[in-house]
């Protein structure tokens, strides 16, 4: 998809770095390739620098030693992110990827939690997903039911929540991404990503920022052979999350 032009091209999207964050430069690259301007935000700062949206990237913040995301949620900047994400009127779009998703659950912006993968190993593979909800701030450039392939790489990727919460997520259409064909890590109901009720906060375990450039994403590894009857991945399926938020900002 071509980067959006016009007003959204001036959008400034913050990418937060915590100590131990790994995919911040990748997330910034994805923002840039989508046509917006990435703004580096430091966890210890007290200002969001007037960004239009925020990405909490993947990694092992504070080593994930206590629980993934448990220490980062107390960062000074997270207070600002939480407040802005829940602001009435025009809440700030926030995307949490992998460790960022884990931070969002620890910060209670999203329900549930992540525990170790069922096989107890770190797992890196190209993962097929079904887009369940194509109306959130971060998924409006997809169509519901569409299948995409982006990398999955984590140690604590098994999404869990109680039955009531799961039913509620399903009923409210807040399951945004679901693992397709096989559940890689034992996540409840094969959930790969969810949103808050307003749809401005989205968290997912797989990494869209690693599927934004042909040749440097899922099609470079050949791991697509695991998908049986799936054509070769385009390698750039993740870019639409970033163009989606630009579209959201344009419309808003």
């Amino acid at each position: 998809m071509a980067p959006l032009e016009g007003d959204a091209a001036g959008a400034r999207i913050g990418v937060v770095t915590f100590p131990g964050t790994l995919d911040d430069r990748d997330a910034a690259r994805a923002v840039r390739l989508a046509g917006a301007t990435p703004v580096n935000l430091w966890h210890g700062d007290g200002s969001l620098q007037d960004v239009d949206a925020v990405v909490l990237p993947g990694g092992f913040s504070y080593g994930d030693y206590l629980r993934a995301g448990a220490i980062s949620r107390f960062a000074p900047l997270m207070g600002k992110v939480t407040a802005a994400a829940e602001a009435p009127g025009s809440p700030l779009p926030v995307l949490g990827i992998c460790n960022g998703f884990q931070v969002l659950t620890e910060a209670h912006l999203l329900p549930g939690s992540m525990v170790k993968n069922e096989n107890l190993h770190f797992m890196c593979r190209d993962q097929k997903l079904t887009v369940e909800n194509a109306s959130t701030s971060w998924t409006n450039q997809f169509t519901a039911g569409e299948q995409i392939v982006i990398p999955l790489k984590n140690q604590d990727g098994q999404f869990i929540a109680d039955e009531h919460t799961l039913d509620q997520l399903e009923g409210d259409g807040r399951v945004v991404f679901r693992y397709a064909e096989s559940n890689p890590n034992g996540s409840r109901r094969s959930i790969a990503g969810i949103s808050n009720a307003a749809g401005n906060v989205v968290g997912l375990m797989p990494h869209p920022e690693h599927a934004v450039e042909p040749g440097f994403g899922p099609d470079s590894s050949g791991a697509d052979r695991r998908f049986g009857d799936t054509p070769l991945a385009s390698g750039t399926d993740g870019l639409s999350l970033f163009t989606s938020v630009l579209n959201t900002l344009l419309v808003a």
Binding site: P19, D64, Y65, H121, T143, P151, K153, D237
Partner: protein, 794 residues
Amino acid sequence: MTEEFNLDTVEHASRTPDSELPWADLGLRENEFEDIQTILGRRPTAAELAMYSVMWSEHCSYKSSKVHLRQFGDKVSEAMKQHLLVGIGENAGVVDIGEGWSVTFKIESHNSPSMVEPFQGAATGVGGIVRDIISMGARPVAVMDALRFGGIDHPDSQRLVHGIVSGIGSYGNSLGLPNVGGEVVFDPAYQGNPLVNALAVGVMRHEDIRLANASGVGNKVVLFGARTGGDGIGGASVLASESFDSSKPSKRPAVQVGDPFAEKVLIECCLELFAASVVEGIQDLGAAGISCATSELASNGDGGMHVELTNVLLRDPTLTPGEILMSESQERMMAVVTPENAAAFEAIMDKWNVEYSWLGEVTDTERLVIEWDGEEIVNVDPKTVAHEGPVYDRPYHRPDWLDELQKSSFRASKQHQERPQSGPELAAAVLELMSSPNMCSKDWVTNQYDRYVQGNTALAMPDDAGVIRVDEESGLGIAVSTDANGRYSYLNPYDGARLALAEAYRNVATSGAKPMAVTDCLNFGSPEDPEIMWQFAESIRGLADACQELGVPVTGGNVSLYNQTSGVAIPPTPVVGVLGLFDDVGRRTPSGWRDDGQALYLLGTTADELDGSEWANLRGHLGGQPPAVDLSIEKQLGEILINASRDGMIDAAHDVSEGGLAATLSEMALRFGVGARVGIDELCERDGIDAFTALFSETQGRAVVSVARTEEVRFTDMCTARGFAHLRIGVVDNPPGSPRGAERLGRSPVVDQASASERAETQPEPALDVQGHFTLPLASLREAHEGTLPAYFG
């Protein structure tokens, strides 16, 4: 603090020349201890003895290997040095890759720590090599690991494989370094002595290169990162003699625990220091810790340094001065900073929450002086510690048993008589080969490593080389591959080392990159055994000769000796890493074919070379001579592969090595799940071999490429013009609409189950069809190939 020790000051040492010192327990020989006394003109203090003993160890001083390693420096032409910005001797070599970019890379062993505690041993191995890379001023961009285990079915392999793989994954993944290649080998010959060789690559702008030297009198010396604990000192007895109450020796850790989070913060913090130009010189702390860092920084710089050791931040306050000097605690760095930059340095440390302590300053005294609360406990010429250690030219001789071994060829064996010949036998043999521990898919291992992080990975395992983009604008990038074959080296260490280089070189060229430089990790048994010393000497001679012939210099590496248990040594295992250059990584060649109708060419000729092969190994035969090495052919083959990649003539390439053509074809087909029709009869006729030999011989200098119909004439013309053997052996079989349809599809809209299953019914299953011999459906080939490691390790 001082009253806790019997502080052995320099003054005290001069007054008490006859004090007994436990030099033997610290691993020093009598002649070495005498040398130290001569150098100092008195007996060493306990702290000095600690420093000399660790710095003069085999591990730090290369005392047994130095006389041979010199060949890497001697057998180098000016042309080979043309792109070398930093050569052997620094933490890692640096290669100019153009456009103002430079690359540093190095491989290092962490064998014995990984045997003791596999998870932490392997993890800290990654940590150590990455700090070598940072200390050159570079951002680490990739890692890979060459691993060798004992028999796959040995009970201890469970502990080692799980521990080592998760240790590497845990540390490397937490650092955000893509793991893009390496090796996993199983062989009972490594039982009790697993090999964990970790390679790291870093990139930097030319102006950012940093060296380990302490220049500028008055500049300050600072230690930063983790606190110093009693790691890696094993409770050596000199330390007990130092301690006040010998009835209560302080407990010292048996293994070191890595803290990847601390290292990740250290990486970012160092890169910020480099960007702000606030450090003059920098050195990582690895083996021999502060002893090594202070003596090397001082002797590489203005020659003198003054340090107050009580300033070192301790994790364990009971450490004695000698222990502090010897400690190998991880995740520490030492830097030299001008007084003007001290505040800027501290601000960066504070931002990243990294602890630091100012230890002292650079002097022009030519002496390394270390004080403990103002009392002098070390006063040495740092060069005598760091560089002028003992050198041994150990005796060596060719083993008597080698003649008989080399005479016992596979061709003359019972196993050769029983070789598979009919179609069904050959098909079964291919399945057996591809499911064997060494040839099976290593996905179970590599899927535990992050290959995507940093977003610059253009190729990773199972491709021939890991390919990383360096410059996002131009596509400038690098390829790296490691290789070794212990069986080849056991049969002939000289040729074995040349073969290791030849394969790593070929792998890099197969990906499309121009080989530029070499790093090596030389794993051997005890140098005190003359036969092993001969294997070692021969390996170095072979590698140095081959480097010269191929025009690629060794830029650094590591020697690991004493890999033996109960007198049984590992086979000689010189692991060779080759770095290659891409003008544009967009041109890289993957190892699997995809597009229907493309022609498959075998480059090179095939001889009857099964000695030391994977097939012979499967049949329990080890003897004869390894495949012949002709480096001029390797060079030509490399040029063809690189040109074909750059000019877009080939869409896939994979070298022929362990497992022969059978393995190459299988791996190429499985890479993207696309079949092919292959004919080998013409090949058998041309080269005078049978089908078995065509499929399983390990003749070097070969590769299979996939060529688009439109490029075929241009490609064959190029091979013909260069006089390089090439033979069309088949076509890619991937009809449109098959499960692996060649059409490039983007996001797939809502799946139409009906049409998908209909399509599956009408299309034949993809297969590797070796016409006239056998047809292997890829599904069964994949099941055989991918089932092995999960079956053993879950």
